[in-house]
Symmetry: C2
């Protein structure tokens, strides 16, 4: 294989330090926020038995997007984690001693066998927060408040909207007005609205599902309802309020919106359906005002999913933050930069080979003071050490030569200001560096 | 599937919040330490093309332990990451713009198709630190200093030893004394010493490899050399110092030990070989004084591995910390506990349904003050809210009823001390809580 330049598999990525430093910072902000709300961390394996994932996500996922494979030894079928929600449901069924309601977050990669393209990868992180064990609107409201705060800690201030809908609204209206008993295929067509436009959805409804023109037009009219939550709920109740599903949904949504702190950022939008089969109640999606890149978070209520595993139903609701798209958008908008190429704050520059051991001691002392400190391990010339430190934009250089060794001092150089301070006792270095970092 | 209780796949684990809180704390300590040494984070995909991993680890890994599978659509062969070292080598070959020496850490899961047993899983985390681009003993010494500090930040103080050897010592001595030209099969037999004992190794050498009795006895004599690094190096030089490999190795090791800060924790031990094929120079392993559970960290120099991918050789050295065994040992020794069942610090208890909205506002204020705060989302009775908070050992309860709502106050209860403080203005709660947490 000599000479070949291997790459990560197609659709997979390496993360270099500049990207990892940014990613870790953003994951850490989200993690702190989740913990502020009292959500606890869990983790599940990256593989599940195939039958755990089968039948949960819908046709496309099942037949095309889930990475499944056979254990070559046992012949047992496995699948790579496709999202963090079905594993959570399985987790709840496996750990029946958890205290309900169970509030958990999970920041972890998932895998989808997509055709790779710009911004779309086969392995990507999701950041999920869910509440298991409450059927009340309070739980859905907390999830909306959490996702609004999440976008804010990620730096998007008010530059986004939370679109909300409820599966029961569409189910009820479709049933009442159009006699549609299984709305899932219709949802799947509507879900493509952003991608294929109104005309595209119309074609899907008529040609693929076989609905007639009147029904199709009616559906398009219904899903065009959107706007301020209260006003839109008034309209819906007036028109379709006799239907049991609609009645339940409007009551649930009114109580939910009542507990949302930032209602001005929310929108009731009947064209929102979400692509996954398992949702049963309120659903939500976050879209940025710019750039136009589709949703950056999505979620909703799935009251039946855990029951599939457990045999008894446990209601649940949650949200998944699409951190990869948010990172792409944040870089495009200039909210995030990839400026930091290293975590290193101080490079100890070994000026004379004879002062090497003293230089190591100084590096060790600087580390004890809390500074991220590198030292040469390659016997490089002083000039080369400096050049490499510059390429990584390390902010402080600490020179150690014979002079410093004899006087038990260090010479500091701050690269941004160009300031150079000689003859510093190592103990005094802490304050001097801290003030300038 | 109704009624079935699914489990994670055999050999895989879920992590509940108590375990995750501990794991995150330990990962974070290691991460801070790696950064203190100026090591930068990277990440690589969990899958690599099979040919990237093939031929790197040795027979057993290749034929049995690597999880490999075919993409059902393309037929392309993939493998789950088996360690973090080969992916690093591939990373270096894929990213030729990295500044050398490249110091990186990587905390991530790997997968091995082992037969599951107590303490041995098919998915487990490794915490690796490596230096790419230096062939000097300084790099190996830094890795030893780093691993000693790692065991300390993990709470093991001086309760461990770092066993060191150098592949070139054994290669040189075997070649010189016994005419063995390919020592890899002999290494594999010696590597089983801890598991099968001296008699077991003897049988392996004679029966499986076909060595005669004299050679076998000689090998056992050589690998029984161990002790203080300087004294042991003196003995080796006296006996085998004419061999070129031995000469190189002893010089390298002397310079390396000279830069190790805690030499009293190190040991030169000729029976250490490490199981992987790719090592070329100094190798190391950390063993705890107790419990007796095999090595908890291991690593060494692998100067040829990157060359396989890149076509030109780049020296490298590093260590992998076996955090799973360390966690098991730490729990057994009582260094770690699983006491914390939640990150939540304050549970807001809703006493009257009518004060619900005020309670939500207080929860939000407490979060702004930096406290991890939960609130009921299930309309539970006061008593049930308290019972659940107690089951999770949440340290602070904040009661909100009509009285508190009207006076814009909160009543605080500290579960450990039993202290109850009424009539606190929300703004004043911060200091009161902080002092008692």
């Amino acid at each position: 294989m000599t000479g070949k330049r291997p790459r990560p598999p197609r659709g997979f990525r390496d993360f270099t330090p500049d990207l990892m430093i940014l990613r870790k910072e953003l994951f850490s902000r989200l993690e702190k926020l989740f913990q502020r709300y009292g959500y606890d961390p869990i983790d599940t394996p990256i593989v599940e038995y195939w039958e755990t994932l089968a039948g949960k996500y819908g046709e496309e996922a099942e037949n095309k997007l889930i990475w499944r494979f056979k254990d070559p030894w046992s012949g047992r079928e496995y699948a790579l984690r496709y999202d963090l929600t079905v594993p959570l449901a399985r987790f709840i069924a496996s750990h029946q001693d958890v205290v309900l309601p169970f509030k958990r977050y999970h920041i972890a990669p998932v895998w989808r066998h997509e055709e790779p393209q710009k911004g779309r990868y086969r392995e990507f992180y999701q950041c999920d927060a869910d509440i298991v064990g409450s059927s009340y609107p309070e739980a859905d409201a907390e999830i909306v408040n959490l996702v609004v705060d999440a976008l804010r800690v990620l730096g998007f201030n008010d530059g986004f909207k939370v679109r909300v809908n409820d599966r029961r609204l569409l189910t009820g209206i479709f049933e009442e007005e159009l006699g549609i008993e299984n709305p899932l295929p219709v949802y799947r067509a509507i879900d493509k609205l952003d991608k294929i436009g109104v005309e595209g959805v119309k074609r899907e409804l008529m040609e693929r599902i076989g609905l007639n023109g009147t029904t199709t037009e009616k559906i398009l009219e219904i899903i065009s309802l959107r706007g301020d939550p209260d006003e839109t709920l008034d309209k819906i109740e007036e028109k379709y309020g006799n239907n049991k599903n609609v009645k339940e949904a409007t009551r649930h949504l009114r109580e939910m919106f009542d507990l949302i702190f930032e209602r001005k950022l929310t929108l009731l939008d009947l064209s929102l359906v979400r692509g996954l089969d398992y949702y049963t109640g309120p659903i939500l999606e976050v879209v940025l005002d710019k750039p136009k890149i589709g949703s950056v978070a999505g979620g909703g209520r799935y009251d039946n999913l855990i029951g599939i595993f457990l045999g008894k139903e446990i209601p649940a609701t949650g949200v998944s933050i699409g951190i990869e798209r948010i990172i792409d958008a944040g870089i495009e908008l200039g909210i995030y930069t990839l400026r930091r190429k290293t975590v290193t704050q101080i490079q100890v520059i070994v000026v004379d080979r004879e002062s090497y051991k003293y230089a190591w001691e100084v590096a060790s002392r600087l580390r004890s003071m809390g500074f991220n400190t590198r030292i040469d391990v390659s016997r490089l010339k002083e000039q080369t050490q400096r050049k490499k430190a510059r390429r990584l934009s390390i902010p402080v250089l600490a020179f150690i030569g014979l002079k410093e060794m004899e006087s038990k001092t260090v010479t500091l150089y701050f690269t941004e200001s160009g300031e150079r301070i000689e003859n510093i006792k190592v103990d005094e270095a802490k304050d001097i560096i801290q003030k300038r970092l």
